[in-house]
Symmetry: C2
Subunit: 310 residues, 2 copies
């Protein structure tokens, strides 16, 4: 079987949201059950920056691999996946699209686990690639009745809303103020680079689910500390990664629960329609490998003799 080599355009064309969500859900469960080796990232010094590797091994699926990116040049990322039964390289995916889509898929799994059931009004603060892939993936787990998007540059929010309507068939509108994208929404996603809060905690109504993708340390945070006080449930995709930040979180890390544990039923998630749930997305290592492997199987089929999970 040949090695699958894909670039950003091919990822956009060939990866569908249900596939990505399914792969990521499997990896999150595996992380909870001890079936995912996802060691801390390692770095090789390139002089004025680093090559950074996040590795992952999914035991039940018989997969391992890594994502590589650099901080010296800002070059294309690379994800490589091998089968651990036959030791064959299966897929190499380069560019930025796979990483953004797996982050979207992680966010969608959190929405599925923690948001109230039924169609949602989705509010986005931020109109970049990360906001886009959250919307793209959430569509695989919930009917999106309407999406509202706010961005620092209004024209980007307008472009985003047009694209959402055209490509995803979602009712979408751009708004001027973040507050308009936050109040009266069932799910709110902040996907910014902002070092200061883009929302106020009391804009969040009871029952809302919030995902924060951007900065969330004490010195730089897109959501306020008061959101932690209002949250009934705080989730993250990786407790280990959340606790390995060089600086404390603005949200209380000691209250965070692993999303995988909620999926497995080992920890409660939402227990009331009035709960406010907050998901701190940190990008569980190994999930890129899971998505690249799922993409391989979707395009080329599952390799003969490979381990079937479960």
């Amino acid at each position: 079987m040949p090695v699958l080599l894909l670039d950003d355009d091919e990822v956009r064309a060939r990866l569908d949201a249900p596939t990505a969500v399914r792969a990521v859900r499997g990896a999150l469960l595996a992380a909870h059950e001890g079936g995912l080796d996802a060691p801390a990232r390692v770095r090789a010094d390139l002089g004025d920056g680093h090559l950074v590797f996040t590795a992952g091994r999914l035991r039940a699926e018989g997969l391992f691999g890594f994502r590589a990116y650099d901080t010296a040049v800002g070059a294309e990322q690379l994800v490589a996946v091998w089968g651990s039964d036959d030791g064959r390289l299966r897929a190499v995916v380069h560019g930025d699209e796979l990483g953004a889509r797996r982050t979207g898929a992680i966010g969608a799994v959190a929405v599925d686990a923690a948001a109230r059931p039924g169609p949602i009004r989705l509010g986005l603060v931020g109109a970049g690639a990360q906001a886009w892939t959250q919307l793209w993936a959430i569509g695989a787990v919930r009917q999106v009745a309407e999406v509202t998007v706010a961005a620092r540059r209004p024209e980007r929010a307008q472009t985003f809303a047009r694209r959402a309507a055209e490509e995803l068939g979602v009712r979408a509108r751009a708004v001027r103020e973040p507050e308009q994208a936050v109040r009266d929404h069932d799910v709110v996603v902040t996907a910014t680079h902002s070092a200061t809060p883009v929302l106020e905690a009391d804009w969040i109504a009871p029952g809302t689910h919030v995902t924060t993708l951007g900065p969330k340390t004490l010195s730089r945070h897109e959501v306020p500390a008061a959101l932690g006080d209002r949250a009934d449930v705080l989730l993250t995709d990786s407790l280990a990664q959340a606790n390995s930040y060089s600086e404390p979180h603005v949200l209380p890390a000691d209250r965070m629960v692993a999303l995988g544990a909620v999926l497995a039923g080992a920890e409660p998630g939402r227990t009331s329609p009035e709960d406010i749930t907050v998901f701190c997305s940190v990008g569980l290592a190994g999930t890129e490998v899971a998505v690249a492997a799922a993409l391989h199987d979707a395009v080329l089929g599952r390799p003969e003799g490979s381990t079937v999970a479960g």
Copy 2:
């Protein structure tokens, strides 16, 4: 320009020895001149083994990348190369062939720099992939008048000799005893996994060049400590890597000279036809990246606008 993806068969078909030798010579010179960032290897824990990454950046050539291999599964290796000017992934090479050929090319550069001029009688102890690629690459720097090969399993030496005659057109013969492949040769290469010496130092005549590829620590070494006493010049492709072994070398590391420094004329190599020169091959990091990039340019041409070295 598309990304070049090559497997072992394609490397065998498309990489010629002069190209590999030229690429490796450039990297060795760059290492001497400070133009190669080749940090210590980094490891990510996979539970019952590691993913290991050796990174390299060639500044003048505008290249960076890494080799990845694992100690958990023993899967195919992967070498990836990016252009640092445009940040585009250029080539992905998987399998074991590229690494063996770059090791061959390093050995050939050492032969070119340190062996006596003129046609050589080449003696090989070991008949595996590493011995093969030494012979393959040495042919790009010296006329090989004859190759003699000894192996622990005689039939492997015979197969090797037949293949050398057929594929490389070299006069080749298999011998029973390592001594027959060592005495009266101009260049001797040991390419074994042996933990005990496969030759005696006094088999090495004045004027001989020796390359050792296999184990060379105090507790496990394919060449004897006495070879260090007999050697007039001790070379290595990387002083940093030679000195980072967890155990001391059986040959005196404090007398070792960087091959790149000899190529640059900054250190003397052979100063007399009677000198015995010994090359301790450790596999300078970054050389895989240089060879993969040269292979890319040979197959697809040099990318437009890319930095031209020198």
